[in-house]
Assembly symmetry: C2
Homo-oligomer: 221 residues x 2
């Protein structure tokens, strides 16, 4: 075999194996001027992400903490703490928004479901305390943590309506079951999309809470 023929053969093998390693042979048939596969893939992921975000926005109905019919001092404050540092249980990032009670009394504020959905998780978590996780109709996960108590004996699979009472705001968590008082009374809200490797992509609830501020129920408390 001539040396040139050998080199040509090797180059062909290299290209063929490179294609296999990339997991696709698609670019061979790519038309000139069309996008590179990687960029196309990025665009698909943007699109997927965007549709997933739309699916959350569209199903938002009620601010999670209703107004009091009698006490105008009963308010909650929240700020954009997306990815702020948290230290309990090792350095980690804050994947949610805290709604801080103006009245420091566990069990006082009602917490309602933002969306229609189904109870998926309920009970104690070391970091989350008494928590409830609602899977919405569009398949998104709404995580309400640090509750004082539950409004009913929730079981996985129970249906909830947007605006339905889930429980009461508290200061549970950061320790073994029943731990309270490790931080001020507040509601931690997390929203997770069924995207990515673990199907649990956290998004920032802050802007959604801003949107819901004009959508508050009034409860007797």
């Amino acid at each position: 075999m001539s040396q040139i023929r050998q080199i040509a053969l090797h180059l062909t093998a290299v290209l063929f194996l490179a294609c296999l390693i990339q997991g696709e042979l698609a670019w061979i048939s790519e038309l000139p001027g069309s996008r590179m596969p990687e960029e196309q893939n990025d665009a698909d992921i943007f699109q997927e992400y965007q549709l997933a975000m739309e699916s959350v926005w569209e199903e938002l109905e009620w601010f999670p903490v209703p107004l009091s019919d009698t006490n105008p001092q009963a308010e909650v404050a929240f700020e954009n703490s997306w990815m702020a540092e948290r230290n309990y249980g090792g350095k980690r990032r804050h994947e949610g928004t805290d709604l801080i009670a103006s009245i420091e009394q566990a069990g006082y504020y009602p917490v309602v479901s933002i969306t229609d959905g189904t109870v998926e998780k309920v009970g104690w978590l070391e970091k989350g305390g008494w928590r409830i996780g609602i899977r919405s109709r569009n398949g998104n996960y709404f995580y309400y943590a640090h509750l004082h108590s539950y409004a009913s004996d929730w079981k996985a699979g129970d249906t909830v309506q947007a605006g339905e009472l889930l429980g009461y705001m508290g200061d549970s968590g950061y320790g073994p079951e029943g731990t309270t008082g490790q931080f001020p009374v507040h509601l931690h809200l997390g929203i997770y999309l069924p995207l990515g490797a673990d199907q649990e992509t956290a998004i920032n609830p802050y802007w959604m809470l801003c949107y819901l501020e004009d959508r508050k129920l009034v409860y007797a408390y």
Copy 2:
């Protein structure tokens, strides 16, 4: 050179070139049990998208159409028409939000910049009519279309402040320069992120306009 040695040499060359083609040598040092490169890539893209979205939310300052200090009937209505079909200029999807005037009079409503930024594009577009495109501080593109007229003789590079008068709402577009009256008076708002192959990823402005509804300036008109 023995045949085995030759094969080994070729395999090394194949692997090396495959790495180069993939544009990265990173996977060589990948630990067992870590995510597949593709999944990691997806997660990176989610992260990139999410940060880009944050960069838009954070810079939103004013609703693009101020209130009138004298005429409470001067309102705008808008709905979520994200990706609704549009027919002018071929079938396409609506990449923005239309703010529809309650008073059908071109040149009546002021249009202000939502963000600080710099004028990037100004002048006539067949689909957009008299338009102005503002590149915000965070590098996002805010596109205001179908204007009746401009507030000043804008040039690319001019600095604008959030809340600054850009021009007046109209019904220009859908034809050669100067065409008007092809549709009701409205402002088309588009928001584009510098992401993806063309660095122009449209996002849905609807939820951002909902957020800005509580942030309206009052102008004399």
